[in-house]
């Protein structure tokens, strides 16, 4: 623009104003993006500064002692892993299968539209309502009692829409030409799905599962009535045991344990967030690997 040649395009007062507005809008949008990152940075910094000193190998590998004011968080850590894994086992197959049906088989009629509407609504149900549903359905009706199974199934119901929606979107992102080419070669729908559509949609499906893991490990309301305990003197041995969980542990040591050291809740929060970030990082690495092998 500022070359030696005469400008091809002489600025008028009119487009000078446009340029100013352009600059303003760009700055404004950039600022909003920065605002978005700010809370994350502040939260992480606060947790590391306040909670960092309590983190140690002992903190991660010993149970709490002295009325939960000292010791570690092992039972809560193990409990959260149990809850997340069992919830994934329950929701991922159902969610992915439902998404495959909705995306690949379902005809576009009122029933399909009604199912889609139901999924969207299920995603909007507050977690405490899921908790009450979990108590009624899994704890009382199916007689699972307050257990990992009941809590994980409640979490699975709650996160099912996330898995379905993200899986369906990633299936639909696979170009239609891929499927048509396959069908033209004489492949059945299922052969097409298994060999072409699913492998190409894998990274998107994983994104949905990552989101589910993050949400599942942080939820408190759905588990506090269905399977999480304030204190347990043992590690869970099976899905019918109760368990401690990181999110509930954080809640109770902040609100109900007198004389808990100030740094303790920050330490628990730091571990919880790091756990989620670590799982996310692992899945992202896998996604990058899968995407690297993508042929389009």
């Amino acid at each position: 623009m500022t070359g030696t040649a005469a400008p091809l395009f002489a600025g008028t007062s009119l487009n000078a104003r446009d340029r100013k507005i352009e600059w303003l809008v760009r700055a404004l949008l950039g600022l909003m993006t920065a605002l978005l990152i700010l809370p994350v940075v502040i939260i992480m910094a606060l947790l590391v500064v306040e909670g960092g000193p309590v983190i140690s190998w002992e903190f991660l590998t010993t149970p709490p002692v002295d009325g939960m004011t000292a010791g570690g968080i092992l039972p809560a850590l193990v409990g959260t892993v149990w809850l997340v894994v069992v919830a994934l086992i329950a929701s991922v197959p159902v969610g992915v299968a439902a998404a495959v049906y909705l995306s690949e088989y379902a005809p576009d009629n009122w029933l399909t539209r009604a199912i889609n509407l139901a999924i969207i609504n299920l995603a909007g149900v507050p977690s405490i309502v899921h908790a009450l549903f979990g108590v009624g359905a899994f704890v009382l009706f199916f007689r699972f009692g307050t257990s990992i199974l009941a809590a994980s199934l409640t979490l699975a119901v709650m996160t099912l829409p996330v898995v379905i929606v993200s899986t369906r979107e990633s299936l639909q992102a696979v170009p239609r030409a891929f499927r048509e080419a396959c069908w033209n070669m004489g492949a059945t729908r299922w052969q097409t799905i298994r060999r072409i559509v699913l492998p190409n949609a894998l990274s998107g499906i994983l994104t949905g599962i990552i989101l589910e893991v993050s949400r599942t490990s942080g939820e408190t309301a759905p588990i506090m009535f269905t399977g999480a305990a304030f204190f347990l003197p043992f590690l869970p041995q099976g899905v019918l045991d109760q368990t401690m969980a990181m999110s509930l542990h954080l809640f109770v040591i902040t609100t109900q344990v007198p004389d808990a050291p100030e740094a303790l809740p920050f330490g628990v929060a730091l571990v919880l967030i790091s756990m989620v970030l670590a799982m996310n990082a692992l899945s992202i690495a896998f996604r990058v690997y899968v995407r690297g092998r993508k042929k389009w």
Partner: protein
């Protein structure tokens, strides 16, 4: 793709195998009162050293949560800082559970104010007029008190959520079952109440005596204006001279048997009762404790 699928599958199999395996250990489900929860947790922690075969799973939520679990038959022991009502008893019996009450201790319900607050004594009537629906006391000056740091002079009322046994007992013992005045800060735990009062010069709150910290003071309480003013303590809760002390209860369905009976006997024995005393609650049984 194929390899990752088979890895996933083997993880599933291991997880399910782990789930099928059943432990021989007996688990006692213990749920309810937030007032009793620190004691219940300390008992469970200590009991794991007494009998490694029995595990006590403790969860909170409030007396109401424990009592509904008793009604639904999902707990072995329900903790409560109030008695079950006759309606709750009937509901439990209709479900085939027969709640039996066990007194495990007492708790003096302390009134908390900010440590700079000079109010040293309160009558039950004054408390009722501060908290009650028809109460007229809105300002500290109405109690002839000037609170440093409280420029507005307004009394900030800190209370509890409505399924709390502490809430129910305060309403019964202080407000004579009148409703609370609207606009109080309803906290979800005893510790929260004390924490808020400690940070708010204008505030008044109530919670179990065991939650006291150096940042708050507990005014003594008079039954009526002429009575002696009694400070909350383990002794005054035990001899009944402190006017707002309540029983701490555990409910079992039917007479306790087996591991539950052994556990309750231990709770009511010296070891359990001394833990209670150590945490600032008043034991139900005279206990010989090593100080």
């Amino acid at each position: 793709m194929r390899r990752s699928m088979s890895t996933l599958l083997s993880i599933l199999v291991i997880a399910c195998g782990g789930g099928a395996e059943n432990s021989a250990r007996a688990v006692i489900q213990n749920k309810g009162s937030d007032t009793l929860i620190t004691v219940a947790q300390a008992w469970a922690e200590a009991y794991s050293a007494v009998d490694a075969e029995v595990a006590v799973a403790v969860s909170g939520g409030g007396s109401g949560t424990g009592i509904s679990a008793m009604i639904n038959g999902t707990v072995d022991i329900a903790n409560s800082s109030r008695k079950m009502t006759s309606r709750e008893m009937e509901a439990a019996r209709a479900n085939g559970n027969d709640p039996v009450e066990h007194l495990v201790g007492h708790d003096a319900l302390a009134v908390y104010v900010h440590r700079d607050n000079p109010v040293g004594r309160l009558t039950l009537d004054q408390l009722a007029r501060i908290y009650g629906e028809n109460g007229t006391i809105e300002r500290w000056s109405q109690l002839d008190v000037q609170v440093p740091g409280c420029a507005s002079d307004e009394i900030v009322r800190v209370s509890r959520q409505n399924n709390s046994g502490t809430f129910a007992y305060f309403r019964e013992a202080v407000l004579d079952n009148e409703d609370f005045k609207l606009g109080s800060h309803d906290m979800h735990g005893s510790k929260d109440v004390v924490h808020l009062v400690a940070q708010t010069p204008c505030a008044i709150g109530y919670s179990g005596m065991a939650y006291a910290t150096p940042e708050v003071t507990m005014p003594c309480v008079m039954g009526t204006a002429g009575d002696p003013c009694v400070a909350p303590s383990i002794e005054t809760a035990l001899d009944g001279s402190y006017p707002i002390s309540r029983p701490l209860l555990m409910y079992t369905s039917g007479s306790p048997a087996g591991a539950v009976k052994t556990y309750l006997d231990w709770v009511l024995g010296d070891a359990g009762q001394c833990i209670m005393l150590e945490l600032g609650y008043t034991p139900a049984m005279p206990a010989e404790c090593v100080q």
